[in-house]
Amino acid sequence: MKEFTYVITDTEGIHARPAGELVKKAKEFTSSVTVIKEEKKADAKKLFGLMGLGVKQGMEITVQVEGEDEEAAAAALEAFLKENL
């Protein structure tokens, strides 16, 4: 399993549009992707769950990737977060 943390810098937090883009990105890989905020977890391939975390600017999220392509998936997702959120 690969794991990394990221602090959201976007002033609006994980709002609808980037959440949708993140789901798309996560779906490109077969590995399971879990986003964790404090005690709450969400499947990064599901939009409502992800938005339901209510991640705001300044909050730290942990991303766990597990599966065959976890190496590539973790790198791609980390790059996506840096670029967009």
Partner: protein, 552 residues
Amino acid sequence: MELYRGKSVFGGIAIGRLHIYSKKDLQVKRERVEDAETEVARFHAAREKAIEQLAGLYEKSLTAVGEANAAIFEIHQMMLQDDDYIESTENIIRTQQVNAEYAVAATSDNFANMFAAMDDDYMKGRAADVRDISERVLLILSGQEAGGIVTDEPVIIVADDLAPSETVQMDKSKVLSFVTVHGSTNSHTAILARTMGIPALIGTPIPLDASLDGRLAVVDGDTGQFYVEPDEQTLAKMQQKYDEMQTKKELLQTLKGKESVTLDGRKIMLYANIGNYKDLSLVLENDAEGIGLFRSEFLYLESSTYPTEEEQLKIYRAVAETMAGKRVIIRTLDIGADKQADYFELPKEENPAMGCRAIRICLTRPEIFKTQLRALFRASAFGKIAIMYPMITSLAEIARIKQIVEEVKAELTEAGVPFGTPEQGIMIETPAAVMISDKLAKEVDFFSIGTNDLTQYTLAIDRQNDQLDEFYDSHHQAVLRMIEMTVQNAHKENIWCGICGELGADASLSKLFLAMGVDELSMSPGSLLFIRKIVRETNVGEEGEAVKAQFL
């Protein structure tokens, strides 16, 4: 006449007939079915058709309301493709053996409630999106089509709330204004009204009964008032206000792209004050020649911790690049007094207006100041940035600022990080700074007079105290003379001097400022073209002395 009050999301006047917009009533009944798989298939067929419709709406709104407003239909498509939404609906159909309509409605309620319960206004607003997409699916399942409004003449749309798919399907030339019972300032109705530039009210407690349909009404987006069947007097007054605004609007549009120069050839720079980089569209729309006051506080106030150098750099750079070579004056952190951020943990003060605020915080906590300065110096490699220090009272403060600036530059040089050479100026907003402005002018590149604080400190009147209104005189000679003195001292040292407080937009003083030789006026973007008009109608040579005699 009936009068209601709502919350205005965009100013202006609209006069016209009311059109009550009510959603088609979709009665969803729970029905037991034998063949759940048929219902699952119906659900998917309707869902796919809905996605297809949304793709069409996205294309349509791209041209009608722009990419930013169209994005919502892309999000709606994503929501309909979401595994959570699909699984929940399928699950209800299969486990409860019920019809697709019921399962969609139940799923919609569940997710809408989840969003509505979140402690974030933005996310709360998404509940409406969930209901919107579900209603679309339900309409398709029922064999109906989503509809817009059908009217011959332009109308004032009155509704409980409006979903984005409803507003975008409306023929924009037929909409004078929106008035809704619910909705938030971030709702799509509000955003759309601002994009269209039409008055709109939300949170207006109107009884939505069909008898309102077709009645004459007036929306005053400036005061939030909504008149149904106004009496003659009100109607005449509102008609006059409407006419005046139309004339002004048309006139001001003709001033775009024109120089801000007097009849006898004196130029003045007309800049915009902004409090957030989101205001940039207004800056460009109103043809500002630069940004005279960019309040950097929002970065600190909207954050739950100290904004990092990179975060700040991103914003400053974006503003500098957007303004493409025009001057962008960024005021360093002016927090304290009436602007508080919890994480600064500022001690409670007896007299915060005269307490630890602005440059005083920066000098007592140089690490915060340095982060901002590093971001500013780095950003100035990407555009014409000027840095402005607030609340200056002494030469010693300037000396300390310079010392810190030198440290920052040395650190950046050592780290090999590229940076520019921004102009550095100060705000003149204390009587102390005015009195020593001759000396201060030797030390900095420009002055900008903050008339709000200068007036408060000069007249010893607390701005926040409305009991003192009768003693407060924004045209007090003491303040106006201080402005004149500051301008003269700036010019003696060949630096420029502007005004960025509320007086900058005070049309009754524009001629006086021209006569004093003020080099720049900075104001909220909406006032710019009006002041440009006055400038272009002034002859300083002929009017200057008389205006000075009148005020000073």
